[in-house]
Symmetry: D2
Subunit: 242 residues, 4 copies
């Protein structure tokens, strides 16, 4: 079951879970102020949207980098600046990668970064930030706080890498808030139950919409929130449209 594609997973876990926990990781590791800083968010998928939204909510000026034009204009319409990573590299105080790809901060970008810039990954494996290149530029690497490596570059600048480039929200914080994990675990459990009950043909299956909706309804009930229901007339009207 492709739990990660369910709405209850990617909307809530990826966007809201990582949005908070990535910055919690950065703050806990560095004790720096996000307000007044320039935060560069590399990637504007679900996780990137959450990370950018929280950076703004914490008072940062936010720059987004992207490779997809549609996401890029979405970021601009959301009030963010968009530019190539090499330009953003000159401006950023914090960089958070959330692409699922490799070497999204690499080469030339390291060469123009400000002294003291902080690099963190909240996307995926520890290949988003190109550590081999960073190591090549450095004289030596020191651990200056728990989970904070100072790369002392030969040109005198220092770049700080958090969590060795691994997931900053898992290493420097406690991962997702528990309410968010609740939803993910519920999807996994009900997905498993669906597999056992319905025995679909082997292969990758989406979480059925009714399971997704059921998990959402349980979450609302836990909050004590009621919502409206369509009347028979409204269902009819809607059906006449679709």
């Amino acid at each position: 079951m492709a739990v990660n594609d369910a709405d209850c997973k990617h909307l809530f876990d990826n966007r809201y879970g990582t949005g908070q926990s990535a910055w919690e990781g950065v703050i806990r590791a560095t004790n720096l102020s996000i307000a007044g800083s320039v935060a560069v968010v590399v990637g504007y998928g679900f996780v990137g949207k959450g990370v950018a939204m929280r950076a703004k909510g914490l008072g940062a000026r936010v720059i987004v980098t992207e490779v997809q034009p549609i996401r890029a204009i979405e970021a601009i319409m959301d009030g963010f600046e968009v530019m190539p990573i090499v330009e953003a590299a000159r401006l950023g105080d914090f960089f958070v990668t959330v692409t699922g790809n490799r070497d999204v901060i690499a080469g030339e970008a390291f060469e123009v970064m400000k002294d003291g810039a902080v690099l963190a990954n909240a996307g995926h494996f520890d290949v988003e930030i190109c550590k081999p290149h960073l190591a090549k530029l450095a004289d030596r690497v020191e651990i200056v706080r728990p989970n904070v490596e100072a790369y002392r570059l030969r040109d005198g600048r220092t770049l700080y890498l958090l969590a060795e480039g691994r997931l900053v929200n898992l290493i420097c914080a406690d991962g997702h808030p528990v309410e968010v994990m609740d939803m993910t675990f519920s999807l996994q459990l009900l997905g498993l139950h669906h597999v056992i009950t319905n025995r679909p043909v082997p292969g990758l299956h989406s979480i059925p919409l009714d399971i997704d909706t059921r998990v959402a309804s349980m979450r609302l009930a836990a909050w004590g929130t009621s919502i409206d229901m369509l009347t028979p007339e409204q269902k009819l009207y809607q059906a006449s449209w679709e």
Copy 2:
């Protein structure tokens, strides 16, 4: 061609276009302050998200009503309150309907609204707010400002209906900002060109992704914005994942 389903249409036209122009319509019609008010947004689809986001951005306390559990928790995670319309009706200063359905404000909701509440529709036809029911409660209806009808209810309260329940952004403002319409028109033109060139079988077709992306790229170019491109290594890495 289902232009309305293209990302460049529903993301930008529906969310950002209507988000701004609906409130511009409300403000122009009423000259009331959105800051300090309670704004009830009925529906949390693309248009509803834009209308809610702008209400918050203008300083309102925002309440969302929904019929779909997933959208309801999305609204809550975005920081909004969610409740049934009959409860929201007691609290709202402004109501904006954006559902595409009928009678989403009706019956009991009118009976508990505050004296002076303002009702507007930014979703669809003039059936979202149930005008017949409103008329039945009223003694008389007066036009108190252009596009503002005061329903003088028999119990002494006044409810203000904007634009006779038709689209407030078109009637009370100038519709979408021109930059947003640019994108919609480009999609329509390129969609038409696609039909002429490729002669697909008759039926409803999606806008091909490459047209959607091309419109987005032109929009970025018009802004003078550059974005990154995947390297061959990154394309390979991404492909190994998907």
Copy 3:
């Protein structure tokens, strides 16, 4: 009575009133999208804070220019960019002046602005934007929409001046929302009553704090909002501190 210095005046009228009505004026005059644009706010006093906050709330990337260091860092901590006007001039789509001073956009700034930039004043008299200099750069001036003058510059660019540089919120919109004016008028009335009753020595007097508080309390009552009251123990505790 220096009504303008009362909290109920400068907090609400200046910050929230002009914040909304200045953008309402810009949108009504131009029908352009604020989301996705770069808005330059010249001055970060009470009015500037309101104008910047609403620009952000409408989806703009906001740049602030200032002459006072403390206000400049306040703007940065609020998540805005700060730079000299000559640099901001290259980036802005919209410029709103709110300084109370003269020629705050002038000379070199006009020369580097983007083709199509929109200039508006929400601060004071029509001297904030230096019209004589703008006229000198222009070949001719055309009115292209009500309250929108197109300055056709000799180098081919067009700059749009709203409301002839006079207050955009009064000329292009309906001025302050009525709820905000309520508070200002209440202050004026109670201030006048205070003068008649207490006959202070001639000169400029502040609005007494109890009048300011009384107006605020009436505003809360009109909203149906209750607040807490200090207990005798709390008053004692607080007094022991101050």
Copy 4:
């Protein structure tokens, strides 16, 4: 020297410093999601404004309680709900006190709180939350995570008190970000220098404006930010006004 009254202190340290570090303390202690929660901020002074702004930025629905009418309407105009603490007590998931007063959460408020509510103080001493009353309602108190005391109430509910009611940003996080402390220490140092150099009469003195401005200018220089300067003509014009 009343360092706490300097703009560079109360604007930045109190508002932005505590705004971030209080929530960092709450998140680190509890690993709960702020997005989707109801955050009650008790007090809307400089610290309260920062704490409320960040709660909103992290995705909470924010309720403010106050005893001063002017601050209460300021909170409403900022988009927050305002109500007495006894009403807010029924709704809140998180409570953060920032008043400088005592027993601002006490008595009846505890009795109506939701099971699982989290109580933290970011204002002052550990008297803002009335611990004796809380203890009286409880059967027993357990430490369930570091700095998290679970008060097991006799009616079956659990209320969580962070840091024993002492400053949550100091106990559960690392206090102010370093950039904010820089400014406070600079004020203290230059204030001390002023005392030694100018030997004012004994008593409580304000930080002179030029020291405040100088600290702000150094902060801007450290960011590499330039700002505008008034021209002689502008100084003259401004002087003609004031």
